[in-house]
């Protein structure tokens, strides 16, 4: 893909799609997807509703199964081998539109579950780590509350911290701010921008074009199950090649 902003040579490819096809019954939802994401890349995926953005990133940690083609994540080919799926899920964090925190656990316990059960950390280590990441998303004081007691923006930041506690190599975001009130969107985007700054490899589905413009180093535009255009943001926003990208941008930037 494109040369990086900092251009420190060619980084390792950590996510690779090769001729991936997927159907929901008769519905062809992903059509011949080819995509490469290198270490420290920040890829923003956009496109109209129903174009397959969520399905695409959910294939990366096998929340969805693809039927054709190859997906290789961090050296593991995603397929029917449960070991490689488990290995990938350990290394890939995911943040959902609806937060999906565990409502029966406190914020702290939400953050400790993965590290203690999957990474085998002791309670004390996991607690330290959780507090460290909760501080990083700026809500250490909410550690002992239950998710239901927090605002949407706070919940989403906890969800980010929960993923980070696994110390993943790749983070996936599926419209992380779409369920939030406008005044809370910024607090979440700020946390994500910080994360990008720290060098995390990120794939982000979002309609926040301001965020995309400043943070992304690759824009991927999807329509009807295909990747229609992929380009660095400066080119994508000022001079899109594809007519459908143009139409999409004019619609989304007009308000």
């Amino acid at each position: 893909m494109s040369p990086r902003k900092g251009s420190q040579g060619r980084a390792k490819v950590v996510v690779e799609f090769e001729g991936v096809n997927k159907w929901f019954g008769d519905f062809h939802v992903l059509k011949d997807i080819n995509l490469r994401v290198r270490e420290r890349d920040r890829v923003v995926i956009c496109g109209p509703s129903g174009s397959g953005k969520s399905t695409l990133i959910r294939c990366i940690n096998r929340l969805e199964e693809h039927q054709e083609g190859r997906i290789v994540v961090d050296g593991h080919e995603i397929g029917n081998d449960p070991k490689s799926v488990a290995a990938v899920r350990r290394e890939v964090g995911m943040v959902f539109q609806q937060f999906n925190l565990f409502p029966h656990l406190t914020v702290l316990e939400n953050c400790m579950l993965g590290p203690t059960k999957v990474r085998g950390l002791s309670k004390a280590e996991a607690r330290d780590r959780a507090m460290q990441y909760l501080a990083r998303v700026r809500i250490p004081e909410q550690a002992d509350k239950y998710p239901g007691q927090l605002s949407g923006g706070q919940q989403q930041r906890v969800a980010i911290a929960r993923s980070l506690c696994m110390q993943p190599r790749i983070m996936l975001f599926d419209e992380p701010t779409s369920a939030l009130d406008p005044e809370m969107i910024k607090e979440v985007l700020d946390v994500m921008a910080d994360l990008a700054q720290s060098g995390m490899t990120m794939l982000v589905v979002t309609h926040e074009m301001g965020f995309a413009r400043t943070v992304a180093d690759e824009m991927v535009f999807m329509d009807e199950g295909s990747i229609v255009e992929s380009a660095p943001p400066e080119r994508f926003f000022t001079n899109p090649e594809n007519d459908r990208s143009k139409l999409f941008l004019s619609q989304i930037l007009s308000h």
Binding site: L63, R89, L113, M166
Partner: protein, 296 residues
């Protein structure tokens, strides 16, 4: 604690209802006395709860209380076992492999579509001929030290009746376990799919997911129906009187026959069952409120 308790206040409707109820009860009592020519006699009946033992010089439980204790033991062990059966089969019912799902489904449908009595008769035959020899309960009791026996007596009642009680517990647990299975399944399936995805995305295995994410939330949701089912179990425990488990109903029949104080005995027995079930209901209600507070 600034809890607002509703003041208990009777208005005229309540008073009328009470008056009608008392009148109706009195009328029934009167009819029983006159039409059936039944002579109420409550005098000697209380001895069947506790009697004075001349040899030991103390009050000891007589038939009805012995029966109540056995019923309570049946209930406690029955609930524990039915819960285990229900959780195991309930998880199997939602497992993605076909075989466990089918097995669990077959069990539930079998129990739900046979009258409990018939199930108990058939299952008892199976238990007494197959399971009990396999468990080796009788040998175990025969060889047990006095210390162990004392413990066993607290847990299961008089040693000579232990095999009898265990049969009853197994029957009850298998019977009620089917209903608990359905409740657990409904609870598991009521946890949104998104929780599964969240669990997977932090790397949990299916089993860890079940243990730490799904089951705790499922249990929270099924406390009310489970409580109802457990109270049903206490009441249903009278069914095992038919396989000669000497619990409250079984001994009540004996007492009623031998004293011919039929109504008195059954009214006392009804009151005992009511006391146990109602206390359970109150207890579960408290538990539910506590969990609700913690959950939010």
């Amino acid at each position: 604690m600034a809890s607002h308790r509703k003041r208990l206040r009777l208005n005229w409707i309540d008073c009328t209802v009470f008056a009608v109820l008392i009148a109706a009860t009195a009328y029934v009592g009167y009819r029983v006395g006159s039409v059936l020519e039944y002579r109420w006699d409550w005098s000697g009946i209380w001895d069947y709860l506790y009697r004075w033992d001349e040899d030991q010089q103390r009050w000891v439980a007589n038939l009805l209380m012995q029966g109540l204790y056995t019923t309570l033991r049946l209930a406690v062990w029955g609930i524990a076992l039915a819960a285990i059966v229900g959780v195991v089969f309930g998880i199997m019912r939602t497992w993605r492999r076909l075989f466990p799902r089918m097995l669990s489904r077959a069990y539930v449908e079998l129990v739900r579509n046979i009258p409990p009595l018939v199930f108990v008769f058939i299952f008892y035959f199976f238990i007494s001929s197959q399971v009990m020899p396999l468990l080796g309960v009788e040998e175990y009791i025969r060889d047990a030290s006095p210390g162990t026996l004392a413990w066993l007596e607290v847990l299961f009642g008089p040693p000579n009746l232990i095999p009898n009680v265990i049969s009853g517990v197994l029957c009850l647990a298998m019977l009620e376990g089917a209903y608990v299975t359905e409740i657990v399944r409904a609870g598991i399936q009521s946890v949104p799919k998104t929780q599964v995805e969240a669990g997977f995305s932090v790397g949990l295995s299916r089993w860890q997911l079940m243990q730490h994410v799904i089951l705790p939330q499922a249990v929270q949701r099924v406390v009310p129906p489970l409580a109802g089912q457990f109270i049903t179990l206490v009441k249903d425990s009278s069914i095992v009187s038919l396989i000669s488990v000497q619990e409250l109903t079984y001994l009540a029949v004996e007492t009623a026959v031998s004293t011919s104080r039929i109504f008195e005995v059954w009214i006392i027995v009804a009151a005992l069952y009511f006391g146990v079930c109602f206390s359970c209901a109150v207890l579960f209600n408290r538990l539910e409120k506590r969990m609700a507070v913690r959950g939010q």
